[in-house]
Symmetry: C2
Subunit: 249 residues, 2 copies
Amino acid sequence: MTYCVGVLVEQGLVLIADTRTNAGLDDISTYRKLTTLAVPGERVLVLASAGNLALSQSVLGLLAEGLRNDETGEPETLQTVPTLFQAALLIGRAIRQVRALEQAALEQANLRFDVTFLFGGQIAGGPMELYLVYSAGNFIRCGPDAPYLQIGEHKYGKPILDRAVRYNTDLYEALKISLISMDSTMRSNIGVGLPIDLAIARRDAFAFEVLHRIEPGEPYFHDLSERWSAALRAAHKSIPRPPYGQEPS
Amino acid sequence: MTYCVGVLVEQGLVLIADTRTNAGLDDISTYRKLTTLAVPGERVLVLASAGNLALSQSVLGLLAEGLRNDETGEPETLQTVPTLFQAALLIGRAIRQVRALEQAALEQANLRFDVTFLFGGQIAGGPMELYLVYSAGNFIRCGPDAPYLQIGEHKYGKPILDRAVRYNTDLYEALKISLISMDSTMRSNIGVGLPIDLAIARRDAFAFEVLHRIEPGEPYFHDLSERWSAALRAAHKSIPRPPYGQEPS
């Protein structure tokens, strides 16, 4: 299992990803799911993957080697694509190429072709954007009305995003809310776990402002989890008693 | 879609269920999913169902008509079973009887045999209990370590239950937390919606203390939702800024 969330606010982009993979409950490992690419002053790109690890690694492998551009005949990579939209198309093409190679054999083994990507960043001359690329290779781009996208085990961590993230939310507040969303997911699904990789890119900076891995036991994240639990307990206690039935004796 | 949650605390039992059913997004209706049965002073039972509405109605229909007890030859109903454990077995038998009748035809129509029940209460001489009966007719009983069970769209509303409900939680606090869990689910899944039916039974009272339907626009529930949103915003604001990257300028 996996949980990754990206938030695109006015000030910039936050992307966080857990690192737990499992081939059954008895085979759990740590793999980095966040991939970053920066050409300072020119482009900043970040990808996070969910689904079958063999598939996401194959897609990333293809992207690193480059896919042939049919017009120019040259191999195209995330280093060379001129726009984010072209980058999303390229990731979609890589997924479809892997599907053509793998799907039949996976189906024979009763496995689903399951791989999705969050992908965001900015290339000079264009806007900062955040995409979700599906396993069919098609994609959506998030907008200011719901300025976040999730992949993997997304349900446990969605309520806090729905209530707290707005397009004008401060960048580090967006990171904090993402970490709360991650913490809620980790509490309910042991297939999602520490360490957490995070990337922050400010709009028009064309460089990462933060690239960090939160390791188990890191005081800030531990404190955030404790404070959030305490705040939730205080929050529900502050709501009046339901007006049904007997008054408390 | 459906969301039902039952909480069994020291003081008693809370069971709440939404009422939305849908056969596709373009065919949404309101159906009661909560069924209650009380013989004052002797037994109090409550069921909530999720899954295919035709199946849950068939199971409830069988339970109302009674299933033949092979030892006595008499029809057995929830009015006559001597213990809650026997009641859970009876519900499981009803599910299996419906499965024997329906599964083949459902499979031909590419439909899954999908029906689950929450079931709780107390029969004189026995303890108060809460069960989850699966579509295979088997069941689990909740214990004090995790004193709640859910059916239907359970993920959005689970984090608050995990953090806030304990076995010694006050009965009406348990109701409040269940309503927050329901509200979180309704915000994220339009397949879950008002009205909400709720039942409360205090331990050893052998009668319902509350049977109530929360209709759209009811002030308490509207206020709970608003206060919860405001409290969550205040809660994440009270957590310190993540210590990564630049200090805020």
